[in-house]
Structure formats: C-alpha cells, structure tokens
C-alpha cells in the first residue's frame, strides 16, 4: 500500500461523500440494468474507480477499507454497480500494481480502472492442472521483440478481454520456478493467436477459453516484472485471485450486493436457499430436506461473517497472509455441498422434465458442473496445501522437481 494513514480522508468523511454521490448518480436496482462499462466510466470519471489505487495510476488514492464502504453503501442504497470487472480490476490490476514497472503501470492501469481495457489471466495449460509452475509455453527473445509459442486453457473470458497476463517459460535450464516470465498478450486480432471457447459439461459454451500461440510477436515492454522472475508475479496474481473469490481485498466490488440481492443464484448456478425452500415445500418439506437447507443457510451465513472477521483481522493486523485461500476453500466446499442439497430437495423433478427441449436450468445439470468451483482458481487440494503450509507453517509436501533444471524434469516424467 502506498498510502499512509495521515494524508487519507477518514472513512466517515469518505462515507458521507460517497453516499451523497451514489444517491445522486447511480441507478437503482429497480431501474433498467445499465451496462457495466458505462457504470465503470462513470465511477472513474468521478474518482470512485480503483478506490485503493494510487492517483497517479488513475485510482482514488484511498484504502481497501474505503473501497468496502463505497460498495456496502451502494448495496444498502440498492444502487447498481458494475458487475463484470471482478477479474480485470479485482485481480489483474492489483497484480500489475504490485509487479509492473512504473511505465507499465502508467500505460495499463488507468485504462483498466476506467473499464476501457480489460484484463484476464493466462496461467493454466492443457496438461498442467494445478501445477502452474510447470508451464511449457515458450517465450523467446528475438532481438527487439519476444516470441511466444504454446497453449493455455481455462482462461476465463479471454474471448472478450483486451489483454491476458500470460505465464510462460523463458529459461529451460533453470529450476522450474526460476525460469518463468509474465507477459501481457493482446487478445483481439493478434497474429498467431487462436482462441476457442470451451464447451461445458452441461453442453453450453462456457466462460473458459483455450488459446494457442504460434510465433506470436510481443513488444519487450509488455513484460510484467523481470524476465524469469515471473513466478512471484504469478503468486501475487493467485493471491489477489483468491482474495477476490473470497470477497476480500481489491475484489470487494459489490458482488454480494448485486441487483437481485440475496435471492440470486450463487456461483455455478446452484440453487439459492430461498429456491430450495420453495422446492422443498412443494414436495411436502421432508425432514432431510429441512436439515440440508438449514445447513446451506448456516454455511452461507457463517462464511459471510467469517469474511468480515478476516477483513477486520487484516485491518488490525491479526490476520496476515493466505486467509483468502481458507475462505475460497470454505466457499467452494459449501457451494459443492449445496449442489448436492439441491438434488435432495428436488427429487425426480430435479433431473426429469416435461417437453422435448434440452434444459440446463435444473439441479441435476448443475450437479454435473458443480466441481467447477472446487477446481477453478486452484483446486480445493491446492487451497488446503496453502492453508496448511503457508498459513499454519506445516511442513511442505516433498517435491521431486523443485531444484532440477526444468529440461530434466520434463525428461523424468513417468519415472517416479
């Protein structure tokens, strides 16, 4: 944080100012939906975008506590806020802020915070899974430019983003974590880049994309951080990602205060508690359904309260480090459990319907994809590793590839 306590507007003063502005300027939940880009422009042009970002990069020069006040106030007043910048402004922009050169920040951040350019991450690879440091996407310096070759997948929303932050290997003789670089790849109309949207298990084209890079040429100043020091940039990115998913930190952008309020479906299309109650009542309110629905409500309530506690702890200094992982884990465990509860509650009506059309808006189809949340953004297993190793300091998993030159690691596969 580049902001010190003394020169910052107090939360109270900011709160009053924000409240007045929100009342005067943001549309009500009851109005027609206003598109996110328009709203983000409005926030930016009035000094309410990137609230915790320095002013020189287009932010408001305040703190995360101010950001929370702003979005909480908007929710309290039932006013619309931009709904599509969780990744770009909640995860990528803070990564750029923490890792990029001053020039790169000046070049990228203001447009990102205004919503005029959007960013996403290019981390996972087709056979990489959770082991992101095993990247085999190749970055080669060729005179004045970099050349990128390889493939990425699970890239959320790449088809509609301006830039992807791409993790790739620039040194094949260094150990795996020490030969990686992070570079910004323009995603629209770039020669040598092909992009496909992934079809999800429910049959629909999902958010995720696959990209292939064949001799993609990139300016050298697209590098974020130093060459072959990209792993720490990736770590920063993952930290912000988990915090955003856990609804703490820079990602506190009013997600839980969306237009439709608490009755909205939670992530991954799982039935929300009120919908489950409705279904259970329709089927006679069986006791096992009551207990399971209560469980869903309890987990949701405790998760919300726990997030609040962690944010308070970050403020007062009792909670440092990877608590976002714990919240992300708790949230995805609860969402997965709720997908199962929706089956219990719905019975045969959850999987069978009248009519000849394929439908995906039912608990059965949702269940097919309900592992999305326990896998995306680092699987539950990865989060449990992080919580136990980095938060609690328990011994690390034995590693078989950490200190070997990466070329050798590749050769060793299949030999354990």
């Amino acid at each position: 944080m580049t902001v010190t306590e003394e020169n910052v507007e107090t939360l109270d003063v900011f709160g009053s100012r924000a409240r007045a502005w929100i009342e005067a300027n943001l549309p009500s939940w009851d109005d027609d939906e206003v598109d996110s880009h328009t709203l983000q422009n409005l926030l930016f042009d009035n000094g309410f975008a990137g609230i915790a970002f320095p002013r020189e990069y287009g932010g408001a020069g305040l703190t995360l506590a101010h950001q929370k006040v702003f979005y909480d106030t908007a929710a309290e007043l039932r006013r619309q806020v931009p709904s599509t910048y969780m990744v770009s402004i909640g995860m990528m922009a803070p990564t750029i802020l923490d890792s990029a050169s001053h020039e790169a920040k000046l070049r990228f951040l203001p447009k990102a915070l205004r919503g005029d350019e959007t960013w996403m991450q290019l981390l996972s690879e087709p056979r990489g899974g959770s082991d992101m440091a095993g990247s085999t996407t190749r970055l080669t310096r060729d005179g004045d430019i970099y050349v990128l070759n390889g493939a990425k997948m699970w890239s959320s929303g790449a088809y509609e983003s301006t830039y992807g932050l791409c993790l790739c290997r620039s040194d094949w003789n260094a150990p795996k974590h020490r030969g990686l670089s992070m570079i910004a790849v323009p995603l629209q109309g770039t020669p040598g880049l092909e992009l496909h949207r992934t079809r999800a298990a429910n049959g629909n084209l999902g958010e995720f994309c696959e990209e292939s890079f064949v001799d993609v040429q990139l300016p050298v100043d697209n590098l974020i951080g130093e060459e072959s020091k990209g792993w720490s940039v990736a770590q920063t990115l993952l930290f912000h990602e988990r915090n955003a998913v856990a609804n703490i930190g820079y990602g506190y952008l009013g997600r839980t205060a969306a237009r439709s309020g608490s009755a909205q479906r939670s992530n991954f299309g799982v039935l929300a508690v009120p919908e489950m109650v409705e279904r259970a009542r329709a089927r006679g309110g069986s006791p096992e359904a009551r207990q399971a629905i209560a469980d869903a409500f309890i987990e949701e309530t405790v998760l919300g309260i726990t997030s609040g506690r962690i944010m308070a702890g970050m403020r007062v200094g009792t909670h440092k480090g990877q608590w976002g992982s714990m919240l992300k884990l708790q949230g995805s465990v609860a969402a997965h459990e709720r997908a199962r509860t929706a089956l219990v509650v719905s019975g045969a009506d959850g999987v069978i319907w009248d009519g000849d059309e394929v439908r995906i808006d039912n608990p059965g189809t949702t269940w097919l994809g309900c592992r999305g949340g326990t896998l995306a953004g680092g699987s539950n297993e990865m989060q449990r590793n992080i919580v136990s190793e980095r938060l609690l300091g328990l011994p690390r998993e034995p590693s078989f590839d950490r200190d070997l030159p990466f070329n050798e690691v590749i050769r060793n596969q299949g030999k354990l």
Binding site: G134, W154, G347, L368, R371, Q413
Partner: protein, 375 residues
C-alpha cells in the same frame, strides 16, 4: 457382479459387453443425445436377440433365464449397460415382463410377451405421480370397476421410454388396494406428454388418464389386490438400477484412476498424493460395498427372502448415495477437463444423477429402512 457366475452367465456377460462396445460405444451414445427417442429400434431388436428381454419371460412363451434366477441374470446386463451408459428401455421392459409372468393372465402373456421378447414392442411401467414418490401410499390415480370395464383417472410421471411405448402398465388405486392395468398408449382418454432428463439418452414422459376405459381383461392380477406384485416390481426395478449404478461407478473409477496414474503434477503422478490415494481407498470400499449389496439384492428377490423389501431400500440408499459420490469424486480427480463436454465423465454423472432420484432417493429409502426395522 456376482463372483461366482456360471459358464452360461459369464458367456452372457461377455456377449453383452462386446455387443455394447461395438454397437453402442460412447460416441454413439453422444449421437443419440440429439435424437427424440434416445435409442435406436433396430439396435434394440439386436439386443433382444441376445436375450436381454427373455429373462423374465416363461419358457412357454419363448423366454427363459440362464440360471433359473432371472434377476441374477438381468443384473449382469444392467451392470454392463451402466459401464457404457447405454441407452434402451431395458429396465421398464423387464419390469413389465416380470409382472406379466408372475401375475398376468394367459391371454395377456400370449398377447404381450412375444412382442417384448423380440424387441418389436416396448412396454413401460407408470407408478410414480407428480412430486415423485415411489411408495404405494402416494398412488392417487384411481382404477374404478364399472360393469365389464375398468376406468382410469389420474396422472403418472417420470415414466421411462413412454414416448415409444406401445403399452403402459399403470399402477392405480381401488379403494384401499392397488390395481394394475395394462393400457395400450393409443387408448382414448390417455394423453402422453413426452419429456427429457439430464441423462444423454433416457427419455421419460407424463401420462394422464381422463376416465380412460378398458375391459376388465386388461387388469393384471386382482382388482385391488396388486400390492405384492407392485412391491416385487419395485424391488426388481431397484435391483436393475443399483446394478446399473455399480457399472457406472466401477467404470468411472477405472478410467479415472488410470488417468491419475498417467497425469503428472509437481513431478509426480497425481495419484501418488496421499489425499487422492486415501480418497480412492474410501471409494474402493464404497464400490465394493455397492457391488456386494446390489448382488445380494438380486439373489434375495429371486429367492423370495423375507427381508428382500428392506434390502432393496438398503441397496438403493447405499448405492444411490455412494455411486454418485464416486462419480463426483472422480470429477475432482480428473480436474478441470472433467467439467467439459469433451470429456466422457459427464455422461456417467448424468446417468448417476438420474438413477439417484428415480424409484426413490437415498433419503426416502432411508425412511423406508427405518420403518422396516424389526426392533
């Protein structure tokens, strides 16, 4: 699957597996997703030739089981079908055949069984009603004798293969008792609504009876006296369903563990990580228990064991919970690719999640187990 199959049974199993592998691989199952009926009539006739529809049909009508124990034979097919999430109205056709063989009149048997046997005709069972309960107490549709006729009123839901069925065996209420009527789908006063499910190929439907009138000769068994045979049908349905779920879970675990051995992360095959190994160990006991109880149920039904009804619910409660759990855990092991259309595991999730609900959820069967505890 039974560990002590006879040579005939073992041959039947192999024939079934080869037939499915060559005539109904997963690519073919995916193609049927787009189709209205979810299966192919010619293919079904071939399956019938292999004996899939003969097991409950008495020898007098050209049928016969391999071992003299039709459910023990039928679960062999059901399990293989689960392994390849195969289509086809195997369960409803055999439940109706079992009902007719046990309670049908000579005329009914002679009229219906040959068509089912050859695969030319399809019959299905209409038991549950909107809301989805599979117990006698929730049957609200009525069968009212009126002179030489029986008059049906009410609605039945979740009827498998209804859209292609020639006949529906309807379970209805007559006073305090149950009555079953075999109804040609074209009968006046009978309205069929086609439906779909989460499964790739299984189609279901809703059928409404608006005072549909049939001759008393269409009643299967006694008017008001069908309670026992309905229970038998439910047990057979559960046995076939549990066996299918065993096949689903078994095959899913096979390809998932194989994948996990090949897949490296952090320099190790992912199944070398202790948490995955331990989860697989737990799944091993879920799977082995599912196989054991599913087999035991088939035997208990054919041997008319006194605890067959309770065992049917024990089996559904266990397999109906653990089967889908195994598939679900396998999705997690498979990772992101497991929630894509491209990967086959969702075909197994689909079958599992429909089987979980159909013929009663695990939670409902636990209530039935509790009610049947003789303490």
């Amino acid at each position: 699957m039974n560990l002590e199959l006879s040579e005939d049974q073992e041959f039947f199993r192999e024939t079934t597996r080869k037939f499915l592998e060559s005539e109904m691989p997963l690519t073919a199952v995916r193609e049927l997703y787009e189709s209205a009926d979810g299966f192919d009539r010619d293919w079904w006739r071939q399956a019938a030739e292999l004996g899939w529809t003969s097991l409950y049909v008495p020898e007098a009508h050209g049928g016969g089981s391999l071992s003299g124990s039709p459910t023990r034979d039928a679960v062999i097919v059901a399990e293989e079908m689960g392994r390849l999430v195969s289509p086809g109205p195997f369960l409803p056709v055999n439940v109706v055949a079992a009902a007719l063989a046990r309670a049908g009149s000579a005329d009914q048997q002679a009229e219906v069984l040959p068509g089912l046997l050859s695969g030319e005709e399809i019959a299905t069972w209409a038991f549950s009603e909107p809301g989805g309960h599979w117990d006698a107490a929730s049957v609200a549709a009525t069968a009212t004798p009126d002179g030489g006729d029986i008059v049906l009123s009410g609605t039945k839901s979740y009827v498998e293969a209804l859209g292609v069925a020639d006949r529906v065996l309807v379970t209805a209420r007559t006073g305090d008792g149950l009555t079953q009527v075999l109804v040609p789908t074209g009968t006046p006063g009978v309205t069929v609504t086609r439906g779909r499910s989460v499964d790739m190929t299984r189609r279901f439907g809703k059928v409404t009876f608006d005072g549909a009138r049939l001759p008393l000769a269409a009643v299967v068994g006694e008017v008001g006296g069908a309670g026992d045979i309905v229970e038998h049908q439910l047990e057979v349905a559960l046995a076939l369903q549990c066996a299918e779920l065993v096949g689903v879970a078994d095959r899913t675990m096979e390809f998932t563990v194989e994948y996990g051995r090949e897949r490296y992360a952090f320099g190790r095959p992912i199944v070398s990580f202790q948490v995955l190994k331990h989860r697989i160990a737990d799944m091993t006991h879920w799977l082995e228990g599912s196989k054991a109880v599913s087999d035991a149920l088939a035997g208990a039904i054919d041997d008319a064991k006194p605890d067959a009804a309770r065992l049917a619910s024990v089996a559904k409660a266990f397999v109906g919970e653990r089967g889908p759990d195994i598939v679900d855990e396998c999705v997690q092991i498979t990772g992101g690719i497991g929630v894509t259309w491209e990967h086959d595991i969702h075909l197994y999730s689909r079958r599992a999640v429909v089987d979980r609900a159909l013929f009663g959820s695990p939670e409902e069967h636990k209530e039935r187990v509790y009610a049947l505890l003789d303490v």
